[in-house]
């Protein structure tokens, strides 16, 4: 569904991605793990058109989207839950959700709103509240709900569990599972490598701008280098 080939990104003089290639097949959960600064967020930002790659190609459902505008990419069915939630604090919860459906005009908006409220009943209770007044966990739910309102085929999530209490982390992973079971393809970035690999069908390990390892979640969990570097085991 999404295929990235030999992607290079430069930020000024910094060579952030040095030839990343990966595949996201339809209806799978794919995870990208790696340390801070490895280039995980940059990869997702390049897919969304928020940063321009200096070389390489990004294809989505057979179409080249390497140079497409973010608006166009969203309309084609890719959305991202950005790192740090980035909800609009002075818009209400409901307005934030409608923002997610900004490019849409179909009757499905109402249905998706109901679906989001059934995934996150808390958001329904607080729909008239300003998003800035929500707790961190609720803001994360809102950021996910907002992305779902675009009715994406591919949902990309950048560190959805960052800064959340352990109980909420589990809840977020359950939600991802549920979203996936509704037929969405998920590309997930996580620092919580163990949880991500347990959930994912396939994983890639990114180090300083290069893919160094890949395999099914189970395979990667069993690899020594992964256990040492990302799972904190000796």
């Amino acid at each position: 569904m999404l295929s990235i080939a030999d992607l290079h990104v430069h930020y000024g003089g910094i060579h952030a991605l040095k030839g990343v290639s990966l595949e996201v097949p339809a209806n799978k959960i794919i995870t990208l793990i790696g340390t801070n600064g490895a280039g995980k967020s940059t990869t997702l930002r390049a897919v969304c058109g928020l940063v321009r790659p200096s070389a390489g190609a990004i294809n989505f459902q057979g179409q080249d989207i390497t140079r497409a505008s973010t608006t166009g990419i969203v309309q084609m069915g890719i959305t991202m839950v950005p790192e740090g939630r980035r909800v609009f604090p002075d818009l209400t919860v409901l307005e934030n959700l409608y923002m997610g459906a900004h490019t849409r005009n179909d009757p499905g908006v109402k249905r998706d709103m109901d679906w989001v409220f059934s995934l996150f009943p808390r958001l329904k209770e607080r729909k008239a509240q300003l998003a800035g007044t929500l707790s961190g966990g609720e803001q994360q739910m809102l950021a996910v709900g907002r992305a779902l309102m675009a009715n994406p085929t591919l949902l990309m999530m950048d560190e959805p569990s960052l800064g959340l209490a352990p109980m909420l982390v589990q809840e977020i992973f359950n939600i991802i599972k549920q979203i996936h079971s509704e037929g969405k393809t998920v590309l997930l970035i996580e620092q919580n490598a163990r949880a991500a690999l347990q959930l994912a069908d396939y994983g890639y390990v990114l180090e300083t701008g290069r893919i160094v390892l890949s395999g099914t979640g189970k395979e990667l969990l069993a690899r020594d280098e992964v256990r040492k570097a990302y799972l904190g085991e000796e």
């Binding site: 608006t71 969203v74 609009f88 604090p89 002075d90 409608y98 900004h102 992305a147």
Partner: protein, 297 residues
């Protein structure tokens, strides 16, 4: 000082304040979305006044058509300025854009001198606008009623636009966070253009009413109102639309009251705004209704 006289001055202050409010909104909207003080904003009201003047006197168009044309052309001009002078500098340091804005302002003033001539021109003001109406001993000109009336209608329309429409929601989102707004599929450049169109159209109406209130136009008429409305926007809390309206009204009423009740200080009426600016920056830099200075992450 009797009560009737006080209300007389108050009505006058509200009418001036309405104009300040209309123009201040443009500053605050552009600041909210680009973090830029658009110093060319004041000159838009001059352009608008001239368009009406030429439309009526040179092309003999009916007044309403001249007004509509002035609003449309000024809005287009505001959008064009953003395209030509600000958009290419989107990724430059903010100071470059600010200097560009000052450049555009000088350009428009000098263009005015070349095209319209430097001599002041008298604006035709229909007699019914100068007619006075007596309300409980307070006599008010039709114009002093018309200005706040038009302003109120425009404010209601603006508030509907910003708080009740999809585009308004997108404007509020863009003013917070470009990248996340893009992720929603919002075309950020289009929203920025739209913001300039809206602010410029309000300035155009403000400029026309300004020319009716002070019926003489010359290429520099935009300078002082422009600066004062910038002060009004800062006073109310720059980036905050209700703040700009509040700042505009308080500044207009304050200025009129100063002249009315302390006639000795009448010569300092223009200084009043700038004293307010200094006091605001010293004691409440975020303005009356300003948001907390949250740094963008």
């Amino acid at each position: 000082m009797d009560l009737a006289l006080f209300f007389q001055h108050l009505a006058n202050g509200i009418s001036l304040g309405s104009l300040y409010a209309l123009i201040a909104i443009g500053y605050t909207m552009v600041y909210g979305i680009l973090r830029l003080i658009n110093f060319a904003h004041g000159d838009l009201l001059m352009m608008s006044a001239y368009i009406v003047f030429y439309g009526m006197l040179v092309f003999a168009l009916p007044w309403w058509l001249s007004v509509v044309l002035a609003v449309l052309l000024t809005a287009a001009l505001g959008m064009g300025i953003e395209r030509a002078a600000y958009r290419p500098l989107r990724d430059s340091p903010r100071i470059s854009v600010l200097i560009s804005a000052i450049g555009v302002s000088f350009f428009l003033q000098n263009l005015g001198i070349v095209v319209f001539g430097g001599r002041a021109k008298a604006v035709y003001r229909p007699a019914w606008l100068a007619a006075t109406i007596d309300i409980g001993g307070v006599s008010i000109t039709t114009l002093a009623l018309l200005i706040p009336g038009v302003t109120l209608i425009l404010l209601l329309m603006l508030s509907h636009l910003v708080y009740r429409t999809k585009t308004g929601m997108a404007m509020r989102a863009v003013s917070r966070d470009y990248d996340t707004a893009r992720l929603m599929g919002i075309d950020v450049d289009r929203i920025i253009s739209f913001t300039f169109v809206t602010g410029s159209a309000l300035a155009a109406v403000g400029g026309i009413m300004w020319a009716l209130r002070y019926p003489q136009i010359h290429p520099m008429i935009g300078v002082m109102p422009g600066l004062k409305c910038f002060v009004a926007a800062v006073f109310g809390g720059i980036g905050n639309i209700p703040g700009a309206v509040l700042g505009g009204f308080l500044l207009g009423i304050g200025e009129i009251m100063l002249v009315a009740f302390i006639p000795n200080l009448a010569g300092y009426r223009d200084a009043f705004a700038f004293v307010i600016l200094i006091l605001t920056l010293l004691f409440r830099p975020t303005g009356l209704l300003g948001e907390k200075m949250a740094e963008k992450v």
